[in-house]
Assembly symmetry: D2
Homo-oligomer: 160 residues x 4
């Protein structure tokens, strides 16, 4: 069993450049995090793009879908910005025979109180235990891609 | 769906008392951790005991098994010391119709580099996605209770 | 002995609002930090403004100078953005009879690897030990206000 | 200006060995901490012993005093266990012409909420700013070695 982790950006990967006093999407956080957490699984990390999810285009989502479909693996995790995670999830539903789990973080992985490790843990277990389909693993919950939205006011994912 | 989390002690709950310069098992870490991680699930935390797992007796394991069997819930997580986690898992196999996931941590939850949040995330997704049975969620992996041991030298869980 | 801590913003106080995916100056970090560090000193925290130091005007610096001069205390710490910290320090040299220490952070206090607690520790000891004058406490060093600049390329303060 | 940092053990250096489920004094934390904090000072770290301060003997204190007296530097920091820090400080008062600062931590440096970086920051500024003498830098306060005790119940250092 091998897990392919596609990274496309989002809050989880955000870093801070002091010189510019801006907050930017950096290299994928998931690789370093899995090493720090002593993950004992067979995985590969593939960075597809580094975008705030509000800036993702239809073309970006097509790129992601193509990468997932073309992957030799059938266990796929995607680390993604939270604002349009459900939109991308919808685009992936046409891919059959694979377990696809989208996750990310509400606070960057470099923050003391980040939910990144927790969410990545959720996503890893989901990709191992759930059957084919598209899922979102956020806030300790495994959501079906069709039954979830981000509640922006409460800053969390909820069932619909 | 409600998850019952039984806490029995172990490294995950270890704290440090300066006055005595000793390291002791404290209150369950999982409750605070789930709040910090903004978990949006229905759960209850039940502390059964606070023991280093090397000091657990047969009677302790019987207590745990009884609590799991008697619980009204069929989705059960147990935070447990790592040294005898697999032994307790074996004792729980006789319980049918429930999804039982044991987890814990190799470094206490209060450590900067603790794997506690990551493992709890894994356990939460497992209890939601896996069918009835007994599982161990450690090192980013969901193990069948019959196919796992702790590799003490490498300080991680491996498949057997 | 009482220490007055004036907060004017800067990286040390930066936080992250997910909804807007922007990085903003938040409430002063120093109060929470001193509680967490179990500081046993008599101090008061006064927030004067919340600005990135690149956006500070001459008027802002005049406001700071007036607050320091008018304070009943003669032990003053100022948490400040790093980019123009030395400029503000120059403006404060005209104030006599007070020990004035500017500090801040190269990474926000909410980051896992922030230098905020370390720098605040430096500033506190400086304000207790140094005679009247204006100092910058950054990178583990107590600089005379006249003999320091920020090396932007190396992202640290150096002696001149 | 060069600072010599002698390390003799204590809570600041405590680590946790999972295999043995015990808590032991490890390698000096101060070196790694100063690198992480981007300290821009000239310093050397010398490990003299690794002891819980309750287990220190008169001979141990004589060893420390000799190392301090023999050092080529006159700016000395000692990271030390908190329980007998004041006793060691008394032994060092006979050394003249040097600024000697003892510090440590109430929670190990590897803990999320450790005061180690904060205290090391305090000690560094003290050694730079204070005249010859023996000081204890704990809880954000620079104490004269003659006017401080550890309040064990409140777990902090207080003036006497």
């Amino acid at each position: 069993m091998k897990v392919t982790i596609f990274c496309v950006g989002g809050t989880i990967d955000k870093i801070y450049f002091d010189a510019k006093s801006e907050y930017e999407v950096g290299a994928p956080a998931v690789g370093r995090l899995l090493r720090e957490m002593k993950a004992n699984i067979d995985y590969e990390v593939v960075s597809l793009m580094s975008k705030d999810s509000l800036e993702m285009s239809d073309e970006d989502r097509a790129t992601i879908a193509r990468a997932v479909a073309d992957s030799a693996q059938d266990k796929i995790i995607i680390t993604h910005g939270t604002d349009t995670m459900t939109t991308t999830a919808q685009q992936l539903k046409k891919i059959t025979g694979k377990t696809i789990v989208l996750t990310g973080a509400l606070a960057p992985a470099i923050f003391k109180d980040s939910d990144a490790a927790f969410n990545i843990g959720c996503a890893l277990a989901t990709v191992q235990c759930a059957g084919p389909g598209v899922y979102i693993a956020m806030n300790g919950r495994v959501f079906d891609a069709d039954k979830v939205r981000k509640d922006v006011d409460q800053n969390r994912f909820v069932e619909i």
